[in-house]
């Protein structure tokens, strides 16, 4: 079974939520990103979102935009992200989800991408600007390669579209818990419980909540409502602040460890 699906199933029997941290691949360098993935696994990550840097990330706030920019300046590309996954797989079986925009995948070639990503050890892909109704070729290619296709849902998503997303998603459904781009928020969206329940009901899939979660308190609160808790910008910010610091990897591991413990109810 696909590692992402297997992990969500295992967590369900244990009755705990998944901790899903995000980092931008190639920031501060591809070597360090590989080490950060391993550190996140040690910290207790269940699925790691590995961000493919893109020049025009319309879905992202300033923290992740700048991380992508730094990564591109150091020569990151989808091809190199896939190579990094191949290298990570030599020592780790942590479930890995690529978080990308569509154009790099299109330029790579959708089928070639699905084949190479699966062969390297990627478990699934989330494409921010590819809604399921535009994703026929993509879905076919990823299904054939055994990759999970994760799609986004938002507070504005209608019931009909939730059913569509449910039918096209494998692994889990990603719920963007508020209107806007990625970035940290001080308050969690109101009515989150109802929203998550509605998505679970209409998609029939586990739901991971993201966009704006930055503290262990918020992570713990969301863990009580949803099958997964995604933390992105808060971790990318720590990476940015410690990019030149020899203690980068340990610092991120500690930061993520606190979030993981909060998600698992161990605080």
């Amino acid at each position: 079974m696909n590692r992402i699906e297997a992990r969500f199933q295992a967590l369900k029997t244990q009755g705990v939520s998944a901790f899903v941290p995000y980092i931008t691949a190639g920031d501060p360098s591809m070597d360090l990103s590989e080490q950060l993935v391993l550190a996140l696994e040690r910290a207790g990550a269940d699925v790691i979102e590995f961000g493919v840097p893109f020049s025009d990330p319309v879905g992202d706030g300033i923290v992740i935009q700048e991380a992508a920019q730094r990564a591109l300046q150091r020569g990151a590309s989808l091809r190199k992200v896939i190579a990094a996954v191949r290298s990570i797989r030599r020592t780790s079986q942590v479930p890995l989800l690529l978080f990308s925009y569509f154009n790099p995948i299109l330029a790579y070639g959708i089928e070639a991408f699905a084949r190479d990503a699966a062969e390297a050890g990627v478990d699934g892909v989330l494409c921010v600007d590819l809604p399921p109704d535009e994703a026929d070729d993509y879905k076919l290619a990823l299904d054939q390669a055994g990759l999970c296709t994760v799609f986004l849902t938002a507070p504005t998503t209608s019931d009909d579209r939730l059913r569509l997303v449910g039918a096209k998603c494998t692994g889990f459904v990603y719920y963007v818990s508020r209107l806007g781009v990625t970035g940290e928020q001080t308050a969690l969206a109101e009515g989150l419980k109802d929203a998550v329940t509605r998505i679970q009901r209409l998609t029939g899939k586990p739901v991971a909540v993201g966009f704006g979660i930055s503290t262990p308190e918020q992570a713990a609160a969301v863990a009580g409502l949803a099958e997964g808790v995604v933390v992105g910008s808060a971790i990318v910010r720590v990476v940015a602040q410690h990019g030149e610091d020899p203690a980068l990897v340990e610092t991120v591991e500690t930061f993520a460890g606190n979030l993981a413990q909060a998600v698992k109810g161990q605080t």
């Binding site: 025009d56 990330p57 154009n103 330029a107 938002a154 209107l179």
Partner: protein, 411 residues
């Protein structure tokens, strides 16, 4: 002058977009999920407005008495004599209120925003003309207006920045990426994702996710509808060629659309050739681009082999964009429209030639269409005619042009 029917959204010979918002394999709706509902809502509101005689007559009345439509189709005799060859007509969008065709779309979309009950609009702008047009329509209709503009464009279009402020809009500088139009669109999309419940995004060209390319085309197609009647009035027959510059492609689609079924009418779209057709030095998507998806639409995109969006350059901010409207991509692959490019220098030469032969200072964008006319008219016979879309006036560009033309001298 004849009355022109307000709008049409279908053309028998050119049935695009299809129900999925596609023009052949181009177009579509590649957006984060949050925006899907807003695009659905916009399309529904648009279709209901287009079927509402009250909306259409309000639009037509404002086009007449506020925008100043129909704009003239002017026979440029001195330019014709200077070039020798085809008779040249200029469709004078420079004489529309605010000085460019952009008002046609901005007014239409702001009326739609009002109809949808959205009190705030946002826009992106490159040359500043679309920002000015949106700020103007917002002032007219009492809407709050924020305009995103790359800081490089703010620098080269200072006059328009001040105009927008004067009109009550807030101009928000965008300092990311190439600091031009593409980055202003990214930032406008981020704003829209965040404030979508009370904000309408007035996209300024025939690009972006469906239904924008269709809506903008339809609001701009008044240009071609007028021009077709006017040339029939003045010449008694259809033109031999149409020429328009292509940034995102709205003034070109606006002129071409009504003529698409007239197979004897040749059409030429002119992209920005910049300083050379090498990556980073131009914005000629059909010369240097490849299939790609940028900012919501599948089209031709200037990009590197890894799918990262390329840097672009043009002396004219309004043509300085890495992608092009999906309907143009279809017209390019079908061969119905010929796409070419004019260099910065050719555009600057055309800018000066039109000024001194006709007493009309064109926008630097429109000067690219004039540059192509300079090449093409002499190859045609004297009994043939060309309509050139003079999409805007050049007042905004005189300072920028002076820097190149006077080279170091004081203005």
């Amino acid at each position: 002058m004849k009355e022109y029917e307000a709008l049409s959204t279908t053309s028998v010979k050119h049935p695009w977009p299809d129900a999925r918002g596609r023009y052949g394999r181009f177009g579509g709706r590649y957006v984060p999920e949050t925006l899907v509902y807003a695009l659905d809502e916009l399309e529904a509101a648009y279709r209901s407005a287009m079927a509402d005689p009250a909306f259409l007559s309000d639009l037509a009345e404002r086009q007449r008495n506020y925008v100043g439509r129909p704009t003239p189709l002017y026979r440029a005799d001195r330019l014709t004599a200077h070039l020798g060859g085809a008779r040249i007509y200029l469709k004078r969008e420079d004489l529309a209120h605010t000085g460019a065709h952009k008002i046609n779309n901005a007014l239409g979309q702001c009326l739609l925003a009002k109809r949808m009950g959205k009190p705030r609009v946002i826009a992106e702008t490159g040359a500043g003309q679309h920002g000015v047009a949106t700020a103007t329509a917002s002032a007219l209709l009492g809407l709050d207006c924020d305009v995103y503009m790359g800081t490089e464009d703010i620098e080269r279009q200072k006059l328009n920045v001040f105009r927008m402020r004067l009109l009550g809009a807030r101009v928000i500088g965008v300092d990311s990426g190439s600091k031009t139009l593409k980055d202003a669109i990214n930032e406008a999309m981020r704003d829209w994702v965040t404030n979508v419940q009370h904000t309408h995004y007035v996209l300024g060209t025939v690009h972006g996710p469906h239904p924008f390319p269709m809506i903008v085309r339809d609001f701009q197609s008044v240009i071609g509808r007028e021009a077709r009647c006017q040339i029939l009035d003045q010449e008694g027959r259809l033109p031999d060629a149409l020429i328009a510059c292509v940034g995102g492609g709205s003034n070109a689609m606006g002129l071409f659309y009504e003529f698409l079924g007239d197979t004897d009418v040749a059409m030429v779209g002119v992209e920005a050739g910049g300083t050379a057709i090498v990556p980073g030095m131009h914005a000629a998507r059909f010369a240097g681009g490849a299939l790609g998806m940028l900012q919501g639409a599948m089209s031709y995109v200037l990009q590197d082999k890894d799918g990262q969006i390329g840097q672009t350059h043009s002396v004219s901010a309004g043509l300085d964009y890495a992608s092009v409207g999906p309907e143009h991509a279809l017209l390019f692959t079908s061969g119905r429209v010929e796409y070419t490019h004019a260099s910065d220098q050719e555009a600057l030469d055309a800018f000066q030639l039109l000024s001194c032969t006709e007493g009309i200072i064109p926008a630097l964008e429109s000067a690219h269409a004039i540059a192509e006319t300079i090449k093409r008219a002499p190859t045609m016979r004297a009994n043939q005619t060309i309509i050139v879309n003079l999409s805007g006036r050049g007042d905004k560009d005189v300072q920028q042009a002076a820097k190149f033309i006077l080279k170091g001298e004081e203005i």
